[in-house]
């Protein structure tokens, strides 16, 4: 037999309008959370027939007195240990609310489960034992409610029977916890004296608490407001994915705040690109008209082809989020190893992820201690403020401006290790995007391709220094031009002299260098030219970014000349300098070149002539639909 609480049917079928609120009950271990839950289920008539009798019988069989908390201790393992391990969701009704009750464990060992539960809540009940008073876990949970953004908090002072229902003791605890929460900016909605075991204060103001005039627990729950109104805030649509299942290119995501409709002028952050929403797609009926508001999962198409990727944020141009590589956050930490200055992390803001480095730590404390000293690192189950530097720019908001986008989680080794609120953002230098009005070309792509006899493309030559990329690029350029085409060479070193002169050779600068090359090349390709890029581009991830930007126009060629041949050639003397230690961050003599795994073509220039290599590239461009057959035939006849 199962010791489960079977919910009575809780939903609001057929569109009835009872608001649903999700609440969490938190507090120090053994202060009576599970007992209160059991009692609430009983008082609201939510227990299945015979359940109470059955539980009493099971208790008798085990030789234990009956406890209300048995209702929740559904797992065998829990009963063995006598503590609640995880969050269990239970549903019941008050007069005007459907309540989803998330039980969260009080044991310090299971703080990650408390956070998992409490993060889903609209409101919270913080429970305190009248005899023991405010304890470390009470304070810790209070602090976490603040960090999780739970603003409606009711306090219950339980086990009043153990202090003879003393109004004085109640006031003492009420004052202490109210002061603690007020300090965090949380104002309790009620402070209620109860005995969960006997029922006083839960659904009824009994004589024993006759001096108390406030709401009962059930009344307090009945007054909770459902989730915050996010629709009034600025539009934030974080992009989950771009789908091209058919001829539509759909940008998919969930509207976290604000609203949108077809025809809206939008900006894609952090890149700051402007577009208009063409349609709002759906299924089975599509497109949909009318405004789509916060909470909806939507798909939109745009009026122009832009490079957009997962994690970008779609916003309205005049209320765009800030673009940044640096931010400050107040976080809680759940990982065994304390978080220290200099640590490398993975940060997630919605679907956006970025590598990050902790550059400073402040106010690292144990929120359970009354007056704890500040530490240099943030220990497990502790909190603190951190400054982080991000390897990719992200778009975000301070949490005071947007509770949905102003929060982040931190991952260590693929597992969520902490999370918190964005306090402030160091905004980037970007021009205000509202002033940008892209002008589209007067010519259609097919007009150009009819003249050039080819489609636009990005031919990306990657390989070690001195592998022959530039030589090959120039030969290809000459050949395509001779055939009437419009090739344009973009050499990595040449562009570093001008466009990219602000960039060095750190990993972040190399990524930015590649991104700019890819953007310029893609712009040329969209306008019908064949952009030939010759760049070492050693990082696989950077080349993947280039491929995403250029999309179907991308043709990767790995110039795979053996390393010893490259070093022997050394036309610029770089290998010699690097061997002498005079050229830091030089790709070639280390193992830092990540060879492509699925290039469209691989060429070793040590085993063939430049003309033969150019033939192979031309053939590849022909078979992959860049060069038109006629153009190649024409070339053969010259």
């Amino acid at each position: 037999m199962n010791m489960i609480v079977t919910p009575t049917s809780p939903a609001t079928p057929n569109g009835t309008t009872r608001p649903q609120v999700r609440i969490v009950i938190v507090g120090h271990v053994d202060h009576g959370k599970s007992t209160l839950v059991g009692r609430l289920l009983h008082e609201t008539g939510s227990l299945p027939d015979g359940k109470l009798e059955m539980l009493k019988a099971v208790s008798a069989r085990r030789g234990m007195p009956f406890e209300w908390s048995f209702l929740l201790d559904a797992l065998q393992t829990e009963r063995d240990q006598g503590i609640t391990i995880d969050t269990t969701q239970i549903r019941f009704r008050t007069n005007s609310r459907d309540i989803v009750l998330i039980d969260a464990p009080g044991h310090a060992e299971f703080l990650r489960n408390m956070i998992t539960g409490a993060s889903q809540a609209d409101g919270a009940v913080l429970i305190i034992d009248a005899l023991e008073g405010v304890r470390d876990q009470t304070r810790r949970h209070g602090y976490l409610l603040h960090l999780l953004g739970v603003k409606q908090v009711a306090i219950v002072v339980n086990k009043m029977d153990r202090v003879d229902f003393s109004a004085e003791r109640f006031k003492e605890i009420s004052d202490e916890i109210s002061a603690h929460l007020n300090g965090l900016g949380v104002k309790p909605t009620a402070v209620i004296p109860i005995s969960a075991r006997d029922g006083d204060g839960v659904a009824e103001r009994t004589d024993r608490i006759g001096w108390y005039k406030g709401p009962t627990v059930v009344e307090a729950l009945d007054r909770l407001e459902p989730a915050r109104a996010l629709e009034a805030l600025a539009l934030r649509l974080p992009v989950q994915a771009i789908y091209k299942f058919d001829d539509r290119r759909i940008v998919a995501g969930r509207i976290e705040s604000g609203s949108l409709k077809a025809g809206d002028e939008i900006v894609i952050m952090p890149a700051g690109k402007i577009a208009k929403i063409k349609t709002v797609e759906s299924w089975p009926l599509t497109p949909v008209s009318g405004r789509q508001g916060a909470g909806r999962s939507v798909g939109i198409t745009l009026d122009r082809e832009l490079f957009i990727e997962r994690g970008d944020i779609v916003a309205h141009a005049d209320t765009a989020p800030r673009e940044t590589r640096r931010l400050r956050a107040r976080i809680f930490w759940l990982h065994d190893k304390p978080l220290a200055k200099g640590d490398q992390l993975l940060v997630r803001c919605g679907p956006k992820e970025s590598r990050a480095t902790v550059v400073a730590i402040e106010k690292a404390v144990d929120p359970g201690e009354l007056s704890s000293s500040e530490n240099k690192a943030i220990g497990r189950n502790h909190v603190g403020e951190i400054d982080i530097s991000l390897s990719n720019p992200i778009a975000t908001d301070p949490y005071t401006e947007n509770p949905r986008t102003g929060r982040l989680v931190i991952e260590v080794s693929g597992r969520i290790a902490g999370g918190g609120l964005v306090l402030s953002v160091d905004a980037g230098q970007r021009a205000v995007p509202v002033d940008i009005v892209p002008v589209e070309s007067a010519l259609r792509p097919d007009e150009r391709s009819a003249r050039y006899q080819h489609n636009g493309a990005v031919v990306w030559l990657t390989g070690l220094p001195a592998s022959g990329k530039s030589t090959l690029a120039k030969a290809l350029e000459r050949r395509l031009f001779s055939n009437g085409g419009s090739p344009i060479l973009l050499d990595g070193d040449t562009l570093r002299a001008g466009l990219n002169s602000d960039l060095g050779f750190s990993a972040a600068d190399r990524s930015e260098n590649i991104r700019r090359l890819a953007e310029v090349a893609t712009h040329l390709a969209r306008n019908g030219h064949i952009a030939i890029v010759a760049a070492v581009s050693p990082a696989r991830e950077d080349r993947a970014t280039a491929r995403r930007i250029a999309d179907t126009a991308f043709r990767e060629i790995h110039v795979a000349t053996p390393a010893d041949v490259c070093e022997e050639r050394d036309p610029k003397g770089h290998y010699k300098k690097a061997r002498a230690g005079a050229l830091a961050s030089f790709t070639g003599i280390g193992n830092d070149y990540e060879a492509p795994q699925a290039a469209e073509l691989v060429i070793d220039t040590s085993t063939r002539t430049i003309a033969e290599a150019a033939d192979e590239i031309e053939q590849m461009l022909k078979t992959s639909g860049v060069l038109f057959d006629e153009a190649v035939d024409l070339a053969a006849n010259i």
Binding site: M1, S9, P13, A74, Q89, S119, L148, R254, R310
Partner: protein, 264 residues
């Protein structure tokens, strides 16, 4: 947005996260009301066609109506349907009670399918309100190399951020309708006009609330012959949904043992 709109939007968000963050996923199609709602939600998430396989781990002991349903809608919904068999009963832990042992066959069949295709994510239609151990689940729930579930060491999951990095060789279970209830499923099925197997509707005073293998699933007493009547019945009943599932009731911990070993 009403209650069903909110549930739908959240499920779509989960589907899209799973598709974006995992390499090779499949949806476990049990042919029941919950997994049919899941397929519907997946088609909404991906604008018409589910872009990954529907996996039916077939015990060979389902009701004939269920097989007819599978063959018909597998085609009509344009599913990439993979039907995988389960091993014979002799291959399953003999210390389990009979019905649980029968259900454990399905776990073995699932492991065989996982080994065959190398999925790193399986989408399953379990709900928190069905059963107490399911209430403890995460939306993205990591499984060990043996497909097992470590309920004591579940990673934290909050603000719709999911742990989506299973260790090499292990997989994740993804639960897009974990937050739905039985009544939600029926109200949504009605609103969206999703096809159902007629066994759910009362005939001669009985209907199935939950469909499993023929030999270990029993109908409940009911006169609800339409979805509207089912919704009214659910408003009043205090009988658990899985009351007709023999395996839940054999011993106090049989179901938990099954789930720890990798059952749904």
């Amino acid at each position: 947005m009403d209650h069903l709109d909110q549930l739908e939007a959240q499920s779509i968000y989960i589907f899209r996260e799973a598709f974006a963050r995992l390499k090779k996923i499949a949806l476990l199609w049990s042919l029941g009301k919950d997994s049919n709602v899941m397929i519907w939600l997946a088609r909404k998430a991906f604008f018409g066609k589910m872009p990954f396989p529907a996996l039916h781990v077939d015990t060979g002991k389902k009701f004939p109506e269920m097989y007819r349903f599978r063959d018909h809608y597998g085609k009509e919904w344009d599913l990439d349907l993979r039907v995988e068999p389960c091993p014979p009963i002799d291959a399953v832990d003999p210390t389990l009670p009979p019905a649980a042992r029968s259900a454990a066959r399905k776990t073995e069949g699932l492991k065989m399918a996982l080994a065959k295709y190398g999925f790193d994510g399986l989408i399953a239609g379990i709900r928190r309100d069905e059963e107490a151990t399911r209430a403890k689940e995460r939306v993205f729930s990591p499984r060990g190399l043996e497909g097992n579930w470590d309920v004591r060491d579940q990673p934290p999951e909050f603000w719709d951020h999911f742990n989506a990095s299973p260790p090499q060789g292990a997989h994740l279970r993804i639960h897009p309708i974990l937050h739905w209830t039985e009544a939600d499923i029926w109200a949504y099925t009605k609103r969206e006009n999703i096809p159902i197997i007629p066994l759910y509707l009362a005939k001669d005073g009985k209907r199935y609330r939950s469909l499993g293998d023929q030999d270990i699933t029993n109908p409940v007493n009911s006169t609800a012959s339409t979805i509207d009547e089912i919704l009214i019945e659910l408003e009043q009943t205090k009988v658990p949904e899985r009351a007709g599932r023999a395996l839940d009731h054999e011993t106090e911990d049989a179901f938990e043992r099954l789930r720890v070993a990798g059952y749904l």
